[in-house]
Symmetry: C2
Subunit: 320 residues, 2 copies
């Protein structure tokens, strides 16, 4: 599995890295030349390079062949395999911007936007929003707001635009008050959803974890379970997703993977998204959570459900 390595800056190692990127670009060029494509070598090379190396390869390819490697791969590959390679090749902030934009266009995927902005760190969200500007000449909140209304809009725009404080301080009194406000807000849907939105979109994640814990202590049930009973409309579903992503994103991703693999026909987009975005972060932990929950290794479940080059590529990223 490709892992994020610390880049050392000694000139010799820099030269070595450049030389390696050049050779990779050369091999990739060979594999896309002439009749057919050598998918195996695309998988072998790109599936084992970290984010920094992939950017160097793309640059080296552009300089050597005056062509964008990404565009070339797009035209040579197809289907789920193409989409997975394309996403893997993008820088993380840019990739998240693409995922968010696809989710906005597909009206049914608000959960992807919630997932991205709730799991990323505050600074990563800013980087993603900047990448969104560069790519789409719009702000992310502009596009989200124009496609939603009412409380769902308030929640989504709030999550997208928030720049949460990243420190570890907790205010226990606030945790108690706001656990009660959340409880009132969720109970029979009679409370004020705007206060729940305010709390979930502005408080620091550490503070929110304290609030969720306090909720469980005082109300005898976890907030996510309680919400599940009420999550019939889009707004409450979105609330549920946001809380799960903030509360324990590894458990959340496990469930996305479980759902993606259990579906008749497999949700390849969900599978690709989790594997590609977490491969260089915490996919190892997510695999463990998956095994604990399902008594089946994620790799084995994946191997059973998908096929072809797409399967080979995803298994490579999974470290098989």
């Amino acid at each position: 599995m490709a892992t994020l390595v610390t880049i050392k800056s000694s000139p010799i190692e820099d030269a070595e890295a450049l030389q390696k990127a050049f050779k990779d670009a050369e091999a990739l060029h060979k594999s896309v030349q002439g009749w057919g494509t050598d998918e195996k070598s695309v998988i072998t090379i790109l599936g084992h390079r970290n984010v920094y190396q992939r950017q160097q390869i793309r640059k080296s390819y552009q300089e050597t062949y005056q062509e964008d490697l990404l565009k070339r791969l797009e035209s040579e590959l197809s289907g789920d395999f193409e989409r997975a390679v394309y996403r893997w090749m993008l820088e993380p902030a840019d990739r998240d911007a693409v995922l968010a934009n696809v989710a906005i266009k597909d009206g049914n995927k608000g959960h992807v936007i919630i997932e991205i902005v709730s799991v990323l760190s505050p600074e990563e969200v800013l980087a993603m929003r900047r990448a969104y500007h560069n790519r789409y000449k719009h702000s992310l909140e502009e596009d989200v707001a124009a496609h939603t209304t009412g409380h769902l809009r308030q929640l989504l725009v709030g999550l997208v635009t928030s720049f949460r404080y990243g420190g570890d301080e907790i205010n226990p009194k606030l945790a108690k008050t706001e656990a009660d406000i959340l409880h009132e807000s969720i109970k029979e849907k009679k409370g004020n959803p705007e206060e729940a939105i305010r709390i979930l979109t502005t408080r620091s994640k550490t503070q929110l974890l304290a609030t969720f814990n306090r909720y469980r202590d005082d109300h005898g049930i976890s907030i996510t379970k309680k919400l599940l009973d009420n999550a019939s409309d889009d707004f409450h579903k979105a609330l549920h997703t946001a809380i799960r992503c903030i509360n324990d994103h590894k458990k959340y991703y496990e469930k996305v993977l479980r759902g993606a693999l259990k579906r008749v026909g497999t949700d390849e987009d969900g599978l690709t998204r989790v594997v590609v975005t977490r491969a260089e972060k915490d996919l190892k932990d997510i695999k463990e959570v998956y095994y604990k929950r399902n008594s089946v290794h994620l790799e084995d479940a994946v191997a059973k459900e998908i096929s072809g080059d797409y399967k080979k590529f995803i298994l490579t990223l999974l470290g098989k």
Copy 2:
């Protein structure tokens, strides 16, 4: 007047700048030593140094005398003069964070927050929000949201959290549709304020200017004038302020200055805020707008209304 100079990075010039900062720190140290303070030399030195030089002086002072120059000045100076010098000495993003925080604590100053986030560029707003984290261990939106409710909260939090697209593209069709939405929303207050909030908090400034122009063309009156008729409650007042700051912030600042100087007793906070925050940006233009509107030079109006060291300092920043 101190103006923002481009810092050249040649080693000789760097050494010269450091030497100058050291001498300034030495002179300032002398002026705050022993009985009384030599306010005149504080004004002469600090009033004629740009933002970069002031930071160097503060650093040099700390290294030489193991003391924070800002804290020392706070204890040596007093009143409006102290507040003006203190604000002048802060880096812009940090200064805006302080101004926003003071405005949140003083329930009556929402317009200052609107002014800051509507006038700054998108990237400057982010820098200010980061400075707010560092200083207060909270997010700005967290504090704003906790002190407001309803549509006023939606508008303020939206303005504070927005990271507008900064490009120059205009969508004329959108300008027409959204001019109409704004018109409906303002008319007799019967429209949907949430749509007005969405437009004003998410669209790029260039797009909003096109929308405001379209509003005037189609409805025969400028949106700010129309709003003025309806601005009786806090929400509509806030809407009015936001639109004025986005539409023409120099005209907005002129009016703040005019109001500050015309009041019985003078609004020193307003005067200081505009002069200190704009001195290294566009104070020259604002002075021109002021003269055109009042047939009196801003310096003369200021000289008439305030006195003492505060007067000398403000006039120095005004370039007198």
